[in-house]
């Protein structure tokens, strides 16, 4: 593993103030290193601050303490992050293909040159033929897959994914898991993946970070040494079972 982390997080803190003036300490002290090319998953109880952590990394939420060091030599955090939000967040007035091309417009890259790529990505997420559809003509799962294509269009180095497959049915979810691993391997991306599914986290990741309930810290960061490339039947192996138990145990502790 390369020795310079792409992102190094230390003592990260976030305190929200609600409209009524109440203080919510979401993140108390988060420490996590993410190395280039790594696939890291984050699991933790609902409301512990997983979304907040991703948003801080994307520059959408201000932190209230701690530091985030970014390896600026190999990575431009303003142009090379792809964010898959928890909700699809498609623009109703844009056709599917134009939704996928939105980051290209914001980053002021030539649109015509990316059109082919947008079509390829839609094919990749299983939406070939839906280029000209409007979002409200698609199911929730299809919408989320459009949003994944959109997050990939500008070929980001780092993917921040916030429970991206939470709304998908089990079969589609498994297919998407395999596709995601393929994209990750072929395009050499670094992925930070938030999920509720412990099996999903272990299946996908090099490392699973378990967060405690609010105010949250990283309880464990578990290395997953299952060989790659992985197929779905790795989930029935004894090692997989052991790893799941470990994750469950550390979630119990909190």
């Amino acid at each position: 593993m390369p020795n310079t982390p792409l992102i190094s997080i230390r003592g990260l803190k976030k305190i929200f103030t609600t409209l009524t003036g109440e203080k919510i300490e979401a993140l108390e002290n988060i420490a996590l290193d993410i190395y280039p090319g790594e696939f890291v998953s984050i699991v933790g109880p609902s409301g512990c601050g997983k979304t907040t952590l991703l948003k801080i990394l994307a520059g959408l939420v201000q932190k209230d303490g701690g530091e985030i060091k970014v390896d600026k030599e190999s990575f431009d955090p303003t142009r090379e992050v792809g964010f898959v939000f928890q909700k699809p967040l498609l623009l109703d007035w844009r056709k599917v293909i134009d939704n996928v091309l939105l980051p290209i417009e914001i980053l002021k890259i030539n649109r015509a040159s990316m059109f082919g790529r947008a079509q390829e990505l839609l094919e990749l997420v299983g939406l070939k033929g839906f280029e000209k559809a409007y979002p409200n003509e698609l199911s929730g799962g299809m919408q989320q897959r459009v949003s994944i294509a959109r997050a990939l269009i500008h070929d980001p180095k780092l993917m921040l994914m916030d429970e991206p497959f939470g709304a998908l049915d089990a079969l589609t979810r498994e297919r998407m898991n395999l596709e995601l691993l393929r994209i990750w391997r072929e395009a050499k991306k670094t992925v930070l993946f938030v999920t509720h599914g412990i099996a999903e986290a272990i299946f996908l990741s090099d490392r699973v970070a378990v967060l405690s309930a609010r105010p949250s810290t990283v309880v464990t960061a578990l290395d997953i040494h299952l060989s790659r490339p992985r197929t779905l039947n790795v989930r029935t192996s004894p090692e997989f079972g052991k790893l799941s138990m470990k994750v469950y145990d550390s979630l119990e502790m909190v």
Partner: protein
């Protein structure tokens, strides 16, 4: 294509309703033998548009085109200025706090009372009428557009922000398209109020136009041309409204709740 077909059908129903109303009116006048200077029949009113009367010449073509021209200019100016003002107003909390009360104030001024002042300043002619049309109809345009620009799912803005997009990009890519359904409901209200504004302007200060005909005929108790003018005004209002609705179908096909 089907949408447009449906649309024409809906429009036709509107015209049928209108036709029904005219027939009822004709019947009432004929059956109760209402005298012409109280309430002329619609037929007699409409005939006034096409046949030169022995005692007076109303120059219909000249006057109708004058009014139509003013309505179109007034509407265009109001829409463009209204949207521009809304963008400025919604740009920041501060400008909202400043402008909205000002607009409420201007909007609550009785237009008939300030029309003579405008006449004093701008004199007879199109400027006065367009300004009055603007004052009467800018408010729904500005308020609707401002609402649309501000009523955005905050999470959508994150899409632009995480790429460090500018406030301008947020406006162009998210806020403005998001406001289009609101803009169109503003346009619909504005289209009818603009017509009212122009006619009010012509009442107060004009030497041509349908409002001028109405005022003039009132002096001579020549009622049929008044009703002829009213019918033409109604048709113009409906026409403009219909045009806006048609544009709505074409421009925001993604918006489900388009209403007729």
């Amino acid at each position: 294509m089907r949408k447009i077909f449906n649309f024409i059908w809906v429009r036709n129903r509107t015209s049928l309703t209108l036709l029904g109303f005219l027939i009822l009116w004709q019947l009432v006048v004929t059956v109760f033998r209402i005298r012409e200077f109280i309430l002329p029949s619609p037929l007699s009113a409409i005939l006034h548009l096409f046949f030169r009367q022995p005692d007076a010449n109303y120059h219909w073509i000249k006057n109708i085109s004058a009014t139509l021209f003013e309505i179109l200019i007034g509407f265009t100016v109001t829409v463009l200025l209204g949207i521009m003002i809304a963008v400025i107003v919604s740009w920041s909390q501060l400008s909202r706090r400043f402008f909205i009360p000002l607009f409420i104030f201007v909007n609550s001024l009785p237009i008939v009372a300030i029309a003579p002042i405008i006449l004093l300043w701008l004199g007879y002619g199109i400027y006065t009428n367009v300004l009055i049309a603007f004052l009467v109809s800018f408010f729904p345009m500005v308020i609707n557009t401002t609402t649309g620009l501000n009523k955005v799912d905050e999470d959508l803005l994150d899409l632009v922000r995480y790429h460090r997009g500018s406030k301008w990009q947020v406006l162009i890519k998210i806020r403005f398209p998001n406001s289009l359904p609101y803009i169109f409901s503003g346009l619909k209200i504005c289209s009818t109020m603009c017509v009212v504004g122009v006619i009010v302007g012509e009442f107060v200060a004009s030497d041509k136009g349908l409002g001028y005909i109405i005022i003039n005929s009132q002096f001579t108790l020549d009622t049929p041309p008044i009703f002829a003018a009213l019918i033409v005004i109604a048709v113009m209002g409906l026409g403009l409204f219909g045009l806006v609705s048609l544009l709505e179908r074409i421009i925001i096909p993604w918006h489900g709740s388009v209403n007729g």
